[in-house]
Symmetry: C2
């Protein structure tokens, strides 16, 4: 590789002159400057990067789309890169399957691949690696999963207590009293957490926390066929969903059956995925700012790398009011 020395030698100039020419210093004549630049280009000289690479961080992705701008993981990874790369980390995205997790432990995988820390997106409670984080020693940041008791592991996400408090308070302000809840699989730590947070919010807002007004299922079709009819029979005027995709399915299903949203039923989602703006009607939801999640996941990881051992690192959610919720219409 060409260096300032080799350029200086090729041109019979001092290294100081070459250096000044390359940095555009005032006291080098225009002719010399151009000669140096030409030779530098010819020899393939490139300016050394100022900052050393501090290490490589892995972003493991499982159960989550991330490659297209509308995918849930896309902005999280973009935010992570935006915070990590300018300070000198390399970031590598690693799609993670069950086989890899079964064949190789987390610590070993990290050592084998030279990663100094990892962000894990989309792990569910059945993932083999989740058990490992009770004892792992390489810094790990788990999005939407909590493993207590290991100083090397940090939980990042949004504050779901606050999110459900916002959702319930908002629906109550619209005069809803019977609010139902539909949830995706409870093999997910975060869906369990949101469910409990929902009931806590009902109690804290003086509303009845009735387990009969709640349904969860591993598959959306089961939520729609089994639980939704029960919630409607029992007089729910509003339904909060554990995530926007489920809320969207509920809306489509209700529309097909002649129910008007929000006149006959209010629907409130959770996540604020890009789709929410384009559903019919546009979905009112609780936002997780995905870019901020990515950035703060890096802050949490770099805190771990600096031996400041974070346990929990949660963002504030926000209520995004669109058109899927309204006051319940009195039935005559």
């Amino acid at each position: 590789m060409a260096t300032m020395e080799s350029i200086a030698q090729a041109l019979g100039l001092s290294k100081a002159t070459v250096s000044k020419a390359l940095s555009g210093a005032e006291d080098v004549g225009e002719k010399t400057r151009l000669t140096v630049l030409k030779k530098a280009a010819e020899l393939g000289y490139s300016k050394p990067r100022r900052r050393a690479v501090l290490g490589t961080l892995a972003v493991f992705v499982i159960n989550m789309e991330y490659e297209k701008p509308d995918d849930f993981g896309y902005d999280i990874i973009a935010g992570f890169r935006k915070a990590a790369e300018p300070v000198g980390y390399r970031v590598k995205v690693v799609p993670l399957d069950l086989k890899t997790q079964r064949e190789c432990g987390y610590d070993d995988y990290m050592a084998d691949h030279g990663f100094c820390g990892g962000l894990l997106l989309g792990l569910d409670l059945l993932c083999p690696w989740l058990q490992e984080f009770a004892e792992s020693s390489v810094p790990a940041v788990l999005y939407d999963n909590h493993v207590g008791g290991n100083a090397n592991v940090t939980h990042v996400g949004v504050d779901n207590d606050e999110g459900m408090e916002m959702a319930v308070k908002y629906l109550k302000s619209l005069h809803h009293i019977r609010i139902g809840y539909l949830s995706g699989t409870l093999n997910s730590y975060v869906y369990r957490q949101r469910l409990e947070a929902f009931f806590r919010a009902l109690r804290e807002n003086g509303l009845t926390a009735d387990r009969e007004l709640m349904g969860h299922a591993d598959h959306t079709s089961e939520c729609l066929s089994k639980h939704l009819p029960r919630l409607l029979e029992r007089g729910c005027t509003a339904i909060v969903c554990s995530h926007d995709m489920l809320a969207h399915s509920v809306m489509v299903h209700c529309a097909e059956r002649g129910l008007r949203i929000p006149e006959d039923l209010s629907i409130l989602g959770y996540d604020d995925i890009p789709l929410c703006r384009y559903t019919v009607p546009p979905l009112t939801t609780i936002r997780q700012d995905r870019t901020a999640l990515g950035k703060s996941s890096f802050y949490a990881l770099s805190s771990q790398l600096a031996r400041v051992h974070l346990s929990t690192h949660l963002l504030h959610p926000a209520l995004i009011e669109r058109a899927s919720c309204a006051a319940p219409q009195r039935k005559e």
Copy 2:
């Protein structure tokens, strides 16, 4: 103040030459360099600091000692400065009294004094400012206090659920079954939180969560005279205290009454204040790393200033095993 221009003018040199002489560039003769340095010293020239001041952060302290190295707040503030100052923030420590809080709101105070963000140490639930954080707009990080629903406010502290889980698990491993709890004032958010976390940990470890084995009081003397005798009568073989100062008082009080620690009673504290190493016997406790708390408080505040709105930012605690806990001795 002297500038490079004024030095150049005084010596009849170009500014470029003065600049190069001051920076020790190679192409300035030794004589010129010395002349420039001499003139610079004479005119009182000082090199401009490289980094602009990004702003001034306030550390408000109430109900907490912080001036001496053994004071609880000392290391927190030192850690905060250690993280904040090198990146360009000024830090000002402001002892906060009730009068100031009553006379001037938080946002107004910050604007009046030109502070761009604040860390609040030692606020209790009766502090007038605590109410303001529901609506405040200047970034605030609250140590050991949680205010939900305001994007500008972050809660920092240690993970008390994890801390109490460690405490209870450890005592259970020593074969304690009847574990009591003594707490300072419940006008403190964190003492409330630790109390609930203690009971949760009992349940999760399959131990009886008996409210009769718990006592709290605003004053230590009341804990000692009213609650401690009841806990001992009811057969507690171990007592967890909400904070080390209380644990220390319990140990002294027990020793005066002829109870041996840990043979007759195990005592476990919380915080790991410097005193713990010097109590008789040295106190087993749950550590909050105060320097790391200070650093992470700054990370949380700078995250707020970068518009990444953190809700909760908790550190991992650690169990520090000393000599105040042991297996209960069977009474014959």
